[in-house]
């Protein structure tokens, strides 16, 4: 396959970026999208040019470190797929592909396609945990958790923290990311004692970081590689109202 690439290049957080054209011959349809970028980078180095910086690590769709805007869609054209799991067989010979970084005020560009998503860590630091100390846990089967509750909690906990929800949202809202964690912990008996404080603090941190408000467009759910449902945003709102309204 022959592929034309238009890639966002930006030298530093402060620099003004621009789209740069590249062309690749002999792209194998079995390659992953990131392997195609590897091939491009090897060629750039051989030509004495600076390779394109992009985030990636596990390349099996679970670490959440990769994330590109491909032809205007976060993580590319496939549903429920991270960038690293996208393969070139989903493109056609002669295609032009636009590659851009995730865009959100709370995710500043570091260089080229790399962005800083540490705001997510700070949201978790605000309360995305159960305050248990190593050593103080009771026997694991002391508190039964119904199968379906455990499965629902898992669905929320499956979030990989890639930021696709933010990048695709017109408001750059982190409601799906934050809601998934709040929902995961609120469903489990172990998470209930701290549920009120958790939702207040995490929502406040989300706002402090500069993420926008959720207007329920549902775009996040469509693009989430883990198919996390916006039902968890509803649960976050429920928990939030419960913490404020019902208690006051």
């Amino acid at each position: 396959m022959r592929i034309q690439l238009k890639i966002w290049r930006q030298e530093s957080p402060e620099a003004k970026g621009r789209m740069v054209d590249y062309e690749l011959e002999d792209v194998n349809p079995e390659m992953s999208f990131l392997e195609m970028l590897d091939v491009l980078n090897e060629q750039l180095i051989q030509k004495g040019k600076i390779p394109v910086e992009f985030d990636h690590d596990c390349r099996e769709g679970i670490c959440g470190q990769c994330g590109l805007f491909i032809n205007g869609r976060v993580h590319g054209p496939l549903a429920a797929t991270t960038t690293c799991q996208l393969h070139m067989r989903h493109f056609r010979d002669g295609d032009t592909i636009y590659v851009e970084p995730f865009r959100a005020a709370a995710f500043p560009v570091i260089q080229d396609l790399r962005v800083d998503r540490s705001a997510f860590d700070r949201i978790i630091q605000a309360g995305g945990y159960i305050s248990t100390r190593t050593g103080d846990a009771p026997e694991a089967n002391t508190i039964p958790i119904p199968h379906d509750v455990a499965e629902d909690a898992f669905d929320a906990a499956a979030c990989i923290g890639c930021g696709a929800c933010v990048a695709t949202c017109k408001n750059a809202s982190a409601a799906l990311f934050t809601g998934a964690k709040i929902s995961h912990l609120a469903m489990l008996p172990q998470g209930k004692p701290e549920a009120d404080g958790r939702v207040k603090n995490m929502v406040e941190q989300m706002q402090t970081e500069g993420f926008g408000h959720c207007t329920n467009t549902g775009a996040c759910e469509v693009e989430c590689p883990q198919e996390i449902s916006i039902y968890h945003i509803a649960r976050m709102n429920f928990e939030y109202n419960k913490a404020f309204v019902l208690k006051s």
Binding site: N28, A150, A157
Partner: protein
């Protein structure tokens, strides 16, 4: 190099309890005067940083990823073992200990392995308390499945994402401590050297990968939790950034490196399809609970799998190992697959794979049950290969996966450098010559939550008098200068081959000569080839860009430079061990029916290597293994 394993007195069951009862402690109000550096934020690193901080120590935590949650523990799929005996199948700490030490082919220390089994149950309690959503039965109690090399069901799991869920538990505990200020977190920082003052580990030199700045960090103790180095084979199940640099640089500063060549080649990975390929994705071992492995009985059979009738299929694991069948341990399953592939029975376009077939399981349990058990794995398989495994068997192939070898540690998990600890996959301790499935998450967690926090005080109690460690010490200055020199040197070579190019060549050489099968001749040749490749690297490497900004190529080059040295040590290690044990299979030493032939009279020891200096051969030391409780037997799964 003095090797004192510091194994406590008493019977196996008493040792850990006795140790904890008599070890020296740091009093609660003194802990805040002590700084600890933890490098790596996978399960071992996050869990220990959080636990140490909860106790009151001042902790600095480092990772090269952009968030602690990305560390490669996240990718572990199948499960974590614990001897809870919830299944009433006669499981116990002793049985788990025995399975593990036998699985490792009697090449691990009894006391460490028993402690792993003994602490396993507490880990499940800990994870459940953190909110880890393990699979549950309809009554609400925890579910289990089985893994290779055992005949009980003791594996706890969270669909096919157990590592992710356990890591998020540890990550949340870590973040809780970051929020209290007890842990200072440094993401996108890579450790480039260890700093020793008067022979003790006193700090590290790191590079900020976003800005290129070189920083000094001092502490009273340094804990390495930097994971495995299986990425040395280039094509592996590991993440692209996984590397051996932290432990290798510690080794060069004096830490003994144990059993470097013991690498687990995992039997169920996706086969290689082309030269551009960057990794081989793992398909969880849990699939072998329900999937059956086979190849055609006829060599070079090119019919599609569906057209090969039952009687023309060779279920070779069931044939060779009837007692364990498809759940034979990994080393054995990988060797058996390679034997069939090399003999011409491989399947797939490159004839480098075997089938893993779910047709029988779907018939027995229905497609919905199989989907609930393995749905995400089947989905991942389809994304990567384009094939639907509900309809046609998966094609799988062995790939480099786990490093049993690593920095030598004593019972307290301290390396041969005072004040330097190694926990999780980066040490050599519990798995012997082969790790059992679902014991990796366990070891990382047990080391991090339960062992290190209970052993480190025995060292730190004497460090209270040291006061704050200063980064102005000449040792820091020297280490920093060396790091800067190395980076500048890598950039200055300005040759014509990329770091990845060298890495690929090294990886293919290691697969060939120091992989599933090894020979004296091959290893001797490999040492020469690696030396030549290393010399070429120093002449012809090309690294673009500059050091004071993001530069992925510079990061890679540093890691590959270390791999080129570590690879040679692996070959020396495999060469000196003239026996076959676990994942180490020397073709000269096999039984008439092709099984590993161990030679306990001569090789019942752990090899521990001392760095011999640049371009010098390493120096071998031995920790003899004594078995007081179990009798090493020929390991049979037939």
């Amino acid at each position: 190099m003095k090797l004192d394993a510091k194994i406590p007195d008493g019977s196996l069951e008493q040792k850990w309890g006795r140790y904890k009862g008599t070890t020296h402690l740091v009093s609660p109000n003194n802990k805040k005067k002590l700084d600890i550096i933890v490098v790596g934020t996978g399960l071992a690193g996050s869990s220990t940083a959080a636990s140490l901080a909860e106790m009151g120590y001042r902790v600095k935590s480092f990772c090269f990823q952009d968030s602690p949650r990305r560390a490669h523990s996240v990718a572990a799929q199948g499960g974590v073992n614990a001897s809870k005996n919830y299944q009433n199948d006669a499981d116990s700490a002793f049985r788990m200990f025995y399975d593990t030490i036998k699985g490792g082919d009697f090449r691990a220390r009894e006391a460490n392995v028993y402690r792993l089994a003994e602490c396993s149950a507490s880990l499940i309690d800990q994870a459940v308390a953190q909110g880890v959503p393990f699979a549950r039965e309809y009554g609400g109690y925890l579910a289990n499945r089985s893994f290779g090399g055992v005949q009980v069901r003791r594996t706890f799991y969270a669909r096919g994402q157990t590592g992710q869920q356990l890591l998020l538990g540890a990550y949340s505990a870590l973040n809780r401590q970051v929020a209290t200020g007890q842990v200072q977190l440094y993401t996108r920082h890579e450790m480039l050297d260890l700093v020793l003052i008067d022979g003790k580990a006193r700090g590290i030199i790191v590079r900020n990968l976003n800005t290129g700045e070189i920083e000094r960090h001092a502490a009273h103790a340094v804990v390495l939790a930097t994971g495995g180095y299986g990425k040395i084979y280039y094509l592996s199940t590991l993440a692209m950034g996984c590397n051996g640099s932290a432990i290798w640089r510690a080794h060069k500063k004096g830490a003994g490196f144990a059993a470097a060549s013991w690498t687990q080649i995992h039997p169920t990975c996706l086969p290689q399809s082309g030269d551009y390929q960057s990794k081989l994705t793992l398909m969880s071992e849990s699939l072998r609970n329900d999937g059956r492995i086979w190849v055609p009985k006829k060599a070079n059979d090119s019919r599609p799998p569906g057209e090969i009738p039952e009687e023309e299929r060779d279920y070779y694991l069931e044939r060779r190992y009837p007692a364990f069948g498809n759940l034979a341990p990994r080393d054995i399953a990988s060797r058996a697959a390679k034997e069939r592939i090399d003999a011409g029975y491989g399947v797939g376009p490159q004839r480098n794979a075997v089938y893993l077939d779910f047709a029988h399981a779907i018939e027995d349990y229905g497609i919905d049950t199989i989907r609930e058990r393995y749905g995400n794995l089947f989905r991942m398989y389809e994304k990567i290969t384009g094939y639907n495994a509900y309809e046609r068997p998966m094609m799988i192939s062995p790939a480099a996966h786990f490093s049993m070898g690593g920095l030598w540690v004593d019972y307290e998990l301290m390396t041969t450098i005072p004040g330097l600890y190694a926990i999780g996959e980066c040490n050599f301790s519990d798995h012997g010559a082969n790790r059992l499935g679902a014991n990796s998450l366990l070891q990382a967690c047990v080391d991090g939550y339960f062992v290190l926090p209970n052993t480190i005080s025995n060292y730190l109690v004497d460090e209270l008098r040291s006061g704050k460690i200063s980064t102005e010490h000449p040792a820091f200055e020297k280490a920093e200068r060396e790091v800067r020199d190395q980076l500048e040197h890598l950039l200055a070579i300005n040759g014509d081959r990329t770091a990845t190019d060298y890495h690929k060549e090294l990886g293919s050489l290691l697969y060939d000569k120091c992989g599933v099968l090894r020979t004296r001749e091959g290893l001797t040749q490999a040492i020469e080839d690696i030396r030549a490749l290393r010399a070429d690297f120093r002449q012809n490497l090309k690294v673009p860009g500059d050091p004071d900004r993001v530069n992925s190529e510079l990061e890679k080059a540093g890691r590959v430079a270390d791999y080129l040295e570590l690879a040679e040590l692996m070959c020396h290690d495999a060469l000196q061990r003239e026996e076959s044990c676990g994942a180490h299979f020397r073709e000269e030493y096999q039984t008439p029916d092709g099984e590993a032939r161990r030679r306990d009279d001569e090789f019942q020891y752990v090899s521990v290597w001392e760095y011999g200096g640049a371009e010098q051969s390493p120096i071998l030391h031995k920790e003899e293994l004594s078995f007081e409780t179990v009798q090493p037997t020929e390991r049979s799964y037939k």
